[in-house]
């Protein structure tokens, strides 16, 4: 751990960001740019959810920044009436890190896609997570490259037939939640584009978390991967598949809680609630990294089960707070005397 224990983790994710008492509306967060996603794209729903959610934080709008990479989803910042940068492919977490380090008074959000974050940008993502930079990372996972017109992505199922894989793709996909947990993430959540309430709830927890918060959002791309998440949207199927997490609560799901999550070895399995004893039902504990990992594995690629909500939330010093603390400490310890720096220890003088 860092040498300086400032008790910083106790701060909220938004500490230091100026607030306003002026009432805000979703509309205030809409920019004047025409939204240019395809009709029916899941990105619209997420955009609306974010625009509706932000006013509840009561922040000064000018202190919010959205940084994105490249991809359909990465056009997000243009539509937000906040500050924003639509950067280059995969690099948004790196750019946002510099910004977050330089500016404790900003709420910095990263918007990225499954290709942007997990393909070209995979390294920046995992390093940002381990450093625990105070960024909220929204990963729009449509399991396809949208902007480049439909190649398979690192989250596409193996065997996927796309423009670039007419005989089927060969790669075993990433499970973004597992990957993030393996990369020491302090906060990982998941939501589904169509579930405004669930999404908003995860966004709120992410915003409140001090440190990197990765939120995977299942997002439909009606053009190149239509219906990828349909089974999670048809009511009866959804009930059998979606496992929403509430910290401290037993993990049950289904229309009337008829399914429960119980242990199996070091992992988990789903059982009819009626067939297990109440004490066997796993109680969610977002501070337990092992449970989080097991829940991530329960969420299989084929969506037989999809865990949503906050998998993990842990307190750890953030990189940016610590970096600023080091600077402040140094300033307190030693005056910034440029002349004496330039002179150093060994000088000599030439006189006329």
């Amino acid at each position: 751990m860092t040498a300086i224990d400032l008790g910083l983790p106790e701060l909220g994710g938004l500490a230091g960001v100026p607030t306003t008492d002026d009432p805000q509306k979703a509309k205030d967060y809409k920019s004047d740019q025409e939204v240019r996603w395809c009709p029916g794209c899941g990105d619209y729903v997420v955009l609306n959810a974010v625009q509706s959610f932000l006013p509840s934080l009561g922040l000064k709008r000018e202190n919010i920044v959205f940084v994105s990479g490249i991809g359909c989803s990465s056009r997000f910042p243009y539509y937000m009436n906040t500050y924003g940068m639509h950067s280059i492919h995969g690099r948004a977490p790196a750019i946002a890190t510099g910004l977050a380090v330089a500016r404790p008074d900003l709420s910095v959000w990263v918007v990225t896609g499954d290709g942007d974050a997990l393909s070209i940008g995979g390294n920046h993502l995992i390093h940002t997570l381990r450093r625990n930079v105070n960024l909220k990372i929204l990963l729009f996972n449509n399991r396809i490259y949208g902007l480049t017109k439909g190649q398979y992505s690192p989250t596409s199922e193996a065997g996927k037939v796309t423009k670039s894989t007419p005989a089927g793709s060969l790669d075993h996909p990433f499970n973004p939640v597992s990957l993030a947990l393996g990369a020491e993430a302090s906060f990982v959540g998941r939501a589904i584009d169509s579930d405004r309430k669930g999404l908003t709830d995860v966004l709120r927890q992410a915003a409140e978390h001090r440190g990197s918060a990765l939120v995977e959002i299942y997002q439909n791309c009606p053009i190149f991967n239509d219906g990828a998440f349909d089974v999670l949207k048809e009511a009866d199927e959804a009930e059998k598949r979606i496992i929403p997490l509430v910290d401290g609560k037993p993990i049950t799901f289904g229309a009337s809680g008829e399914f429960a999550v119980v242990r199996e070895g070091f992992g988990l399995r789903v059982a009819p609630t009626s067939e297990v004893s109440a004490s066997d039902v796993v109680v969610h504990d977002a501070s337990d990294e092992h449970l989080a990992f097991a829940l991530s594995r329960l969420s299989t690629q084929d969506l037989s089960h999809t865990v949503t909500g906050v998998f993990r939330k842990a307190s750890r010093p953030t990189y940016d707070d610590s970096a600023r603390a080091q600077v402040e400490e140094a300033k307190a310890a030693k005056q910034a005397d440029l002349a004496s720096l330039l002179h150093g220890r060994d000088t000599w003088t030439v006189v006329g």
Partner: protein, 624 residues
Amino acid sequence: MSTDVGSGTEVRKLDRVVIRFAGDSGDGMQLTGDRFTSEAAAFGNDLATQPNFPAEIRAPQGTLPGVSSFQLHFADYDILTPGDRPDVLVAMNPAALKANIGDLPQGGILIVNTDEFSKRNLTKVGYAGNPLEDDSLAAFQVHRVAMATLTIGALEATGLGKKDAERAKNMFALGLLSWMYHRPVEGTERFLREKFARKPEIAEANVLAFRAGWNYGETTESFAVTYEVAPAKLAVGTYRQITGNTALAYGIVAAGQRSGLPVVLGTYPITPASDVLHELSKHKNFDVTTLQAEDEIAGIGAALGASYGGALGVTSTSGPGVALKSETIGLAVMTELPLVVIDVQRGGPSTGLPTKTEQADLLQAMFGRNGESPVPIVAPQSPSDCFAAALDAVRIALTYRTPVLLLSDGAIANGSEPWLIPDVEDLPDLSVTFATEPNATDGSGEFWPYLRDQETLARPWAVPGTPGLQHRIGGLEKAEDTGNISYDPVNHDRMVRLRQAKVEGVEVPDVEVDDPSGRARVLVVGWGSSYGPIGAAARRVRKDGLQVAHVHLRHLNPFPRNLGDVLSRYERVIVPEMNLGQLALLLRARYLVDAISHTKVQGLPFKAEELQNVLTDVVKGLPA
């Protein structure tokens, strides 16, 4: 020219001397050289130094690749280079002898530590016989000194183990050389006591060894001559020694202070640039944050993010790192944010010669990005000049809202020279004004992030947190003024030309021509670290009664306004470069001048002598 002193030793006065200390990487040659340098500096000589490390961290002991050396040049006048060849070579072992003897001119002084010349050590480096015993060194003034034995002897009383005692033999060598060159010694003794403050017995041992070396010169009669090099007449002021990388780091710190901006260095270690990071990381009290990122791309990304946030974003690397950063430099060109990209050039291509110098990234800096992506380029000409060059790069970046490439190189980075420390008050004012108000010219009350300053063509710098100026930028082409995404053909053409015009319009001072007689017909044009050798060569040519003019470019993009004019005034233009002719290519293309390249790509600085010959040939070859 020579006088006798008490000990019966003759004292000869010299105007300049080049000494090279060479030994195994474990022998402490860098420290020895540094100390001699400090002594010379304290004495008032002008000087320049050049260390030479092995590529390996710790190459096997006693081998050729393991040789480490330090050359210093000190004089009673202002000198420009660390010297072509040593007048004195100190060789601590057979490997050091073998690796360096080729550079010692006939009649040069060779001081050898005989203790290491065992059969085994000799064979290790491929000596069939012992060169100290045959006549292969006949051309030199050889002094055979059992330095290890003498050092151990001198330290017997200290109770230090033999091995530890032997370690101080570099101080013995330093003492001996200090005696030979009449150097002040107090500084070194004080230094040793400070350095080993926590291990007083080691401090004492080193001081004893140092004195033993001195006394060895004074008392034995092997050395018939000692030498004096009088202090140089340098500009009045306070001086210090400084390496290029340190000066660069200080320049960045100073720029932060003078601009009032926090500095954020986003970087990834790479030889020979890492010391910029190391140095900057020590100065957090100047509001400097250093971020060692996961790679070069993340490093520059963080720097750009910080710039976007209103800090002074800086990134530092060497050639292979610039290659990786090129896409993000392009983003900085498009977003028109200030950013300083430091490239401490090394031998290429690819991994190349990581510990050697080269100037072969100029065209990469100019053109190494997709599309029309112009960036200003600034190059320091000597170690201490890195300070001013860094300030200048920051000035351009902040004034014009553009990434700036700062091209240093391995020779400058590790070389050192005295630096006339500037007064802080005299440093340029780099303060910037952030945008605070809407600026639309159509009465809409909007903020237009790409409305340009008429004079500089810079766009406003509106940092997040500024109420009312919310806007979005990015890598897609932008509409003039409003900065909205634009696919309009004519707008794109206009923006491409505006970005180009902005960089071409960067204010840079005219070049000054060094042509003392005003009668030269040959002009030599250089840039970067070749300043020293070119300047020294020009002096020598002139000493021979010939005329040559010298122009040295700090600004490679844009070129100074008067450069074309200057070039046109000479019959021959010759461009020496440590590459295959990169500046020459730019000059030829721009000015259609038949610039002749003289190129050397050996990972080593030019020698003044070599350039002297080249220039002399050109001058003499002129038609009458």
